[in-house]
Structures are given as structure tokens and as C-alpha cells.
Amino acid sequence: MHDFWQLLLTDYTLQVITLGTAILGALCGMLGSFAVLKKQSLLGDAVAHAALPGIALSFLIIGVKNSQMLLVGALISGLIGAFWMRGIVTKTRLKTDTALGLILSLFFGFGMLLLTFIQKLPNAQQSGLDKYLFGQAATLLKSDVQFLFVVFVAFVCLLLLFWKEFKIYTFDSAYTQTLGFHNKAIDTLLTSLIVVTIVLGLQSVGVILISAMLLAPAAAARQWTHRLENMVILSGVFGVFSAIIGTVLSTRFSGVPTGPVIVIIAAILVWFSFVFSPKRGLLFRQIRRYKNRKELQVFKTLDLMYRIALEHKTPHHPHHIQILNDFQGYSKSALKQLEDQKLIKIESQQWYLTKEGYQKAAKLFEK
């Protein structure tokens, strides 16, 4: 672990590429929040897979491995894929999942075909195109990172500027339209931001796993907060975190692609959040449920004792414990708890309600 940070602090190349993936993580996390809330998480998957033939074709056309030009190709074919998918959903009776599966596999298959073809070409430049499948952060150049940074600043500004519009559109699009906003404009803007982010992520995370980078941080962040602004920020932080750890880990073992490592780190975050978040986490929910049940059981027992005691003229008249056996739903631990709370007293198998016990029991079902 010590080596890990040492490496990050001293190795300049590593710093550059880690900064690149961290920016990407932040972008994915923030925009992923909207994709998740809009229930469009799989759109990212379709766009990413649809980008592959674009990468291959633009390499075939320009003949050199210029990452910017390849990304333009990726963007174009990604967009074609996304709009084709939407077209299928609106024009035919096919549902989104089917359309998505069709587009995703068609484009990806075509992309793989082109990649195989390219690999047989006598062009020294061709090696490394397959890195776009699972991503290789090490291929990020300083200029790539600078470009990522510019995009990041621009996108954050757009998010701040159109925050209100994105928020209301994501929550209730029909209502948004009645207020006079152009839903098409908001949707186009938001979708474009997401698509550009995906395309930028292809180099370091790869076409196959980039959608996980969009969803995982957002899903994790949703567990910790009930406010959209917090969710977007936290999701961005989670994205940065998984990107940094994933990048450094993957560069330490040569030949390990970056995408899978980043995604695994993000998945661990998701798992952790689903189990341990205090508000929505499984663990605390289970604990709360258990405590509630216990508490109700104790109150139920107290109520029972109260009703028995009421039948006597003297309120603190002792009763034998066995009397309680005739009723369901009391336990030794409940008795013990009541005794600990000084609500009842137990002396030699006889119990009676204390004054506090009386007061508590009388008010038990009042709100």
C-alpha cells in the first residue's frame, strides 16, 4: 500500500494518466446520476458498444492512430446507434431492451469484424486498437488529459447553468413541458453530455465496461443521500476514487487493462453502500427491523402486565410469573429488559409494575 502512494507521488507519467482517469471518473459519476434517475442507464451501454465500428472505420480512413480522430469516429457511430435504437422503439412495437440488444450486438459485431480486418493489414500503426475494448489508461497522453480537463470544466458549468432544468426534467418530464420548457432541448443537451462522456471514457475504460462507470458510482451515491445535489457530488467523488485506485493498480501489473480494475473498485463501492449506508443500507435496515420487533415485544409484554394489574384494586399487587404463560408473545428477555428499565420489579417469581411502569404503560399507545 505504501508503494502504491509512493508510485503515485513520484511517477510523472502515472500522475498524468491518473489525473486523466480521475477527471473521467468525476464526469461519469456526475452525469451517471442523471442517467440512473432517468432510468436510461442502458443507453450508455448501447452508445459505448455502438462506438466500436466508428473507431475502426476512422482508423481505416485516416490510417493513423490519432486518439482525437478515433474518438470523433466513435462519437458519430455511437450517436447513430443511440438514435437508431430510439427510432426502433418509437416506430416499431419492440421494447427498449430488445432494441438495445439488437443495436448493441449489431454494432459491436461489426466493430469486431473491422478490428480483425485491420489487424491483418500491413500497417505498423494498427497494433493497440483492441485496447479500446477494455481500455488502457497508459495510452492517455498529456494532450488527452488537457482536453479532458477542458471538457470537465465546460460540463460542470453547463450542469450548474441548467441544473434546475435537468432536475425537473429528470423528475417529471410531462410537467416540465407544461411549464413552457422545451423537453427536446433539455433531453438533447443532457444526452449529449452523457454520450460525449462515454466516448471520452472509451480510451481508458473501454467500450465494454464504460457503462458500469456511469452507473456504479451513481447507484452507490444514491444510498447515502436524499438530495440530488449531494448525490451528484458524491457520485463524482466515488467515480474519482475508483478511477484513481483502479488506474494505479492496473499500471502496477503490466498488461492488465484499466477498465476492469476500475469497474471492480466501483463495484466494491456499490456493494459497500448497499450494505452499510445508514438510511437505505441492508445492514442497518435489518438492525432497525430487529430492534423494532424487540421493542414492540417488550411493549406488548408491558401492556399485558398493565391490563392484568388493572384488574386488581391495589396497583402494585404482585403476580406470579406463570400467569403470563397463558398469553402468547412474551419472553424472558422482554421481562429482563422491563426490569432493567425499572418498569417492573421481579421478586421470587412474583412481578409487579412500578410507578414508572404504570405511567409508561398507560401512555403506550398514545401518540
Binding site: 441548467f162 432544468e165 413541458q177 407544461t178 411549464l179 444514491r222 436524499h226
Partner: protein
Amino acid sequence: MNSTNFAITINDLTVAYNYKPVLWDIDLSVPEGVLMAIVGPNGAGKSTLMKSILGIVTPIAGKVSIYGKSYEKQRKLVAYVPQKGSVDWDFPTTALDVVLMGTYGQLGWIKRPGRVQKKAALEALEKVGMLALKNRQISQLSGGQQQRVFLARALVQDASIFLMDEPFQGVDATTEKAIINLLQELRNLGKTVVVVHHDLQTVPEYFDWVTFLNVKKIATGPVKAIFNDDYLTQTYGINYKVSIHQ
């Protein structure tokens, strides 16, 4: 009467999603200041009619006008309460935030809600009896409370016409009473309130105007004059004998 005396005027409206028409040649005028129920069976096009008025659905033919002008020009006069089930209530936001959304239309693009808007939102929350829960996450509200939040969001728009799609769906008796009191109060202030309604039993008690709809418009007018077995039978297609007029 001139068409500008009507809050909403609909001429020859026909809407179809695929091949089958959902609304067929609807002519309807809603006078200003009425509290009107739209009734009809499932699939009669009640929600679609509302969405056509709001411009959410594009009709095949026909025209809708709000006080004689297009919705685009008059949208600030209209507030819409969608069906509660149309949104995901697990969205990470609070009751106050949702009500604030009602001010977005007046604000327009980019501008953020400020102190004035927040004050209006709090007042609207108070009117629906939800002020104490203003910071509650919306998924932790009951169905009735969620409906009240939606109502508050429409109130904050300060509109003259309110269009509500099944505001009584899934709410308890207390909330239903509270909502109808508010709607009647709005009507008494001269606002026009149009409600898609399902419970025929309560129509005479709650509303003063009614429209029967089943793809075509069957009838529209004052409840006292036209809410009878004849029109109910025509609308619902079965021999409708109601024990409503006792």
C-alpha cells in the same frame, strides 16, 4: 357567447396514438369559474384530453384555446397536476423542492428560485397542510401526502386554470376532503378547475359541472342538469342505474 368567455375551448379535437383514435372530434367549452369533473370508463381518453389541452400530446386535428389564445401564449395561466403514479417518488428530493418546481415556469431558463419563490412554496405547503413535512424526502411521504405536494406545486404557479389528473387516486378520506375543500375554495375565487374523476358517487357532491367522455364527448353541462342515468349509460355502455339521485 364569445369564445373568450370560456376558460378552455376545444374545437374538433381528434387524437390517435397508433391507428385507433383515443379522442374523436371533441368540441368542448369550459366556462370560467366552474369545478368540472371529466368522467368516463378506462381508455375513454380522459388523461389524453387533459394532455392535449396542455400541448403534451399533439392532436391529429383540432384546436385548443385558453381564453381564446393558444396554450403556448397562455401557459402561465394554467397549472397541471399529473397522475401521482407518473413520477418516481424515490427521486432524491424533498417536499419543498418539488413545490419549488412550480415556480420554474415563471422563472424561465437558467434563473434559480430565490427568496420570493421559496416563500410562495412554503405558503403553498401550508395551504395543503404539509408545512411540517417540508424537508421530508418525498419517498417517505404517504400517498395522500404526495398528492398534497403535487397540489401545492400547482398552487404555487398562481394560475387561473387548474387541470388535475385523478387527484383522489390512492388517497385516504381525510386527504380527499382536504383536497376537495381546496378545489372548491379555488372555484370560489373564480378559478376554473378541471378534474379527471373516477368515483361517480361523489360527482354531485363535489362538482358543479361535468363532462361525459368516451372517445367522443357524450355531454357537458351543469351537474344538476345532466348528471343522470341516461348519460351515464351512454358513457359507460351498460345499463347504468345509479342511486345517486336520492
